[in-house]
């Protein structure tokens, strides 16, 4: 009698691929875990209580959130247009959206200064109404937004593309205006992709260094000259690894915990 079971002996290719894959996972997981576990919980707590550190955490998290909200407000309509309409130059527009991913981020910081610096273009206008960017909270926000918004737009575009356009058409014949069709049908059906894109954008903004160090090395925040976490870590590293390590561990923990929580919300109820 032949006994059958669900387990099947893996072939040689699967074994090699699993081995290589495991090495890759180890490469990704080992550095942050080592950093987190190299500091005791007490050290991490005491570091977090330092005003320079907790104000940095608050600045980083809130600026990334603000960048993501602005990205949602401006990026989702663009994603919808790209998903639903065919027009001359569409591929060019799609390429433009991904430009921030490919240019060096310190160069992006310089480029942003050219547009948002007090002597230039938008910067002059916005400075006129009291919104400054150089070494300011708004500067941190636009730097984060510039480098991370492609993740949101691309994810939202894919989400809208996956919504059958006939659902919107049926909604229109049932009495829904274009706005109602968007908010009642397209947006609820694409929300998971948009939310995932927002999480990615927020996380990418959180880790930005290059563009921020140019436009807002430190920003006035909570009555304190505050640096975002990546800049603070780099600054402390100048005084030695031991001084930088607890802040790096806090940054990793905050990013990972929030990222995992938000991802689990986005994928709740969805089978892998």
């Amino acid at each position: 009698m032949i006994k059958t079971s669900g387990w099947k002996k893996p072939d040689s290719m699967s074994i090699v691929f699993i081995l290589f894959g495991s090495l890759m996972l180890l490469f990704i997981v080992a550095p942050p875990l080592k950093t987190v576990f190299s500091s005791s919980p007490g050290t991490l707590w005491n570091t977090l209580l330092e005003k320079e550190v907790y104000s940095s955490v608050l600045l980083t998290v809130s600026a990334a959130l603000a960048a993501t909200l602005i990205g949602l407000f401006l990026g989702v309509p663009l994603a919808y247009v790209l998903a639903r309409h065919q027009f001359r130059g569409k591929r060019f527009v799609e390429a433009i959206i991904d430009v921030p991913i490919v240019i060096p981020h310190s160069a992006a910081g310089i480029a942003l200064l050219f547009v948002f610096g007090s002597n230039f273009l938008f910067g002059k206008v916005l400075n006129g109404i009291g919104i400054g960017f150089f070494r300011a909270f708004a500067g941190v926000v636009i730097a984060m937004m510039f480098v991370s918004v492609p993740f949101l737009i691309d994810a939202a575009k894919d989400g809208f593309k996956a919504v059958d356009v006939r659902l919107e058409k049926v909604a229109r014949t049932l009495g829904a205006s274009a706005w109602k069709s968007f908010f009642q049908i397209s947006l609820p059906l694409a929300w998971r992709s948009i939310f995932s894109g927002s999480v990615l954008m927020w996380a990418r903004g959180l880790s930005e260094f290059g563009a921020i160090v140019i436009i807002a090395y430190s920003a006035s925040f909570l009555g304190w000259n505050t640096k975002v976490l990546p800049v603070l870590i780099a600054d402390r590293f100048d005084f030695g690894l031991d001084y930088a390590r607890p802040v790096a561990a806090i940054a990793i923990l905050i990013s990972l915990i929030t990222f995992i929580m938000l991802r689990s919300i986005a994928y709740r109820g969805e089978k892998a």
Binding site: V170, R172, L174, G175, Q184, L189
Partner: protein, 348 residues
């Protein structure tokens, strides 16, 4: 009445043009055509979902050509139903009423009435993902009908269903149409579906209407070879009128002289429906004017019916039942007689 006047729509590769239709109130109108003929775009243009280059669309005495879709009072049901996957069946059906700000009590009464007609009262709390194809189709119909549209557009609503469900749904569509008395424009590529449901049929080919008529007219008097082929008329022949004999027109088809009732002259094309040709082992004593001896050259078994090709020449395709096949004991190479009336020949 819905009237479409000189409608012109850009389909990218070709134009849908010179579309003129007058559809009576309560009529079940079929638009028949092959895949890619522009049928869905025609429906969407009527619904205001596809831009119109030229022409007019009227419902009654109101021109709606440039009215937005939500103001046209036209319902649409697509082939794959397009149910809103994030809403329950009840919320799908209630969607149109909610968009039109129908009071709750009134909306409930309307939903109760339509789900009773569609026979889906037991499905209201279900998610669309859990429904069968037939159930989804009924929900999509109920959703379109609950707002009492002036015209209902059906885009190949039965194509995605299995044959048994399709046949049952045809009956249910007929019954729902009879009870509600709504004007329906139904598009399909299935000729038999068109014959089963339509009061009148328009055949669409290459962006133009090839013929409009009753199902009987399509069967007996196709206006072109394309329409004849689409109407499953298997015998389409080319010949030449060579004279008149005993009140019938003689048409020479490669040496075989057919007797037809036509006033056409010169080179002609003609069609004979396979079910109009009788097949027998001996010549039939009848009033039919065409009787020829031929040889069985092909037997194509289609399950419920069998197509027999008899070479006279030319080849004539006849249709017989399985019982007739058994009784006649037909086989390839066997000599048989074929008989058909002069009036069975349609010349175009």
């Amino acid at each position: 009445m819905i009237a479409i006047k000189n409608l012109k729509v850009n389909l990218g590769d070709f134009l849908l043009q010179n579309i003129n239709l007058d559809i009576e109130p309560g009529e079940y109108f079929i638009v028949l055509g092959p895949t890619g003929a522009g049928k869905t775009v025609l429906l969407e243009a009527i619904a205001g979902l596809y831009p119109v280059l030229e022409g007019e669309v009227w419902i009654g005495d109101k021109e709606i050509t440039h009215l937005s879709p939500e103001k046209r009072e036209i319902g649409i049901v697509y082939q794959d139903q397009a149910l809103f996957p994030h809403l329950s069946v009840e919320k799908n059906i209630a969607f149109g009423l909610r968009m039109r700000k129908c009071p709750k009590n009134e909306a409930k009464a309307k939903i109760d009435a339509i789900v009773e007609i569609a026979g889906i009262s037991h499905l209201l709390k279900r998610s669309p993902a859990t429904l069968s194809g037939g159930e989804k189709q009924k929900v999509a119909l109920a959703r379109a009908l609950v707002t009492k549209p002036k015209v209902l557009l059906l885009d190949e609503p039965l194509s995605a269903l299995d044959p048994e469900t399709r046949e049952r749904m045809q009956g249910e569509l007929r019954e729902i149409h009879r009870r509600i008395g709504l004007t329906v424009i139904h598009i399909t590529h299935d000729f038999e579906e068109a014959i089963a449901l339509g009061h009148r049929v328009a055949v669409l080919n290459d962006g133009c209407i090839a013929q409009i008529g009753t199902p009987g007219e399509f069967l007996r008097r196709p206006s072109s070879e394309f329409v004849a082929r689409f109407a499953l008329t298997r015998n389409i022949l080319s010949g030449r009128v060579i004279g008149v004999e005993d009140g019938c027109t003689l048409v020479d088809i490669g040496g075989t002289k057919l007797r037809a009732t036509t006033e056409a002259n010169g080179e002609v094309q003609l069609s004979i429906r396979p079910e109009d040709i009788l097949i027998s082992k001996e010549p039939l004593q009848s009033t039919a004017r065409n009787c020829f001896l031929g040889v069985v050259s092909n037997i194509a078994d289609r399950g419920s019916v069998i197509y027999i090709t008899v070479t006279v020449p030319p080849d004539f395709i006849c249709i017989i039942t399985r019982q007739a096949l058994d009784e006649l004991k037909l086989r390839n190479g066997m000599e048989v007689w074929i008989t058909f009336k002069a009036s069975a020949i349609h010349v175009f």
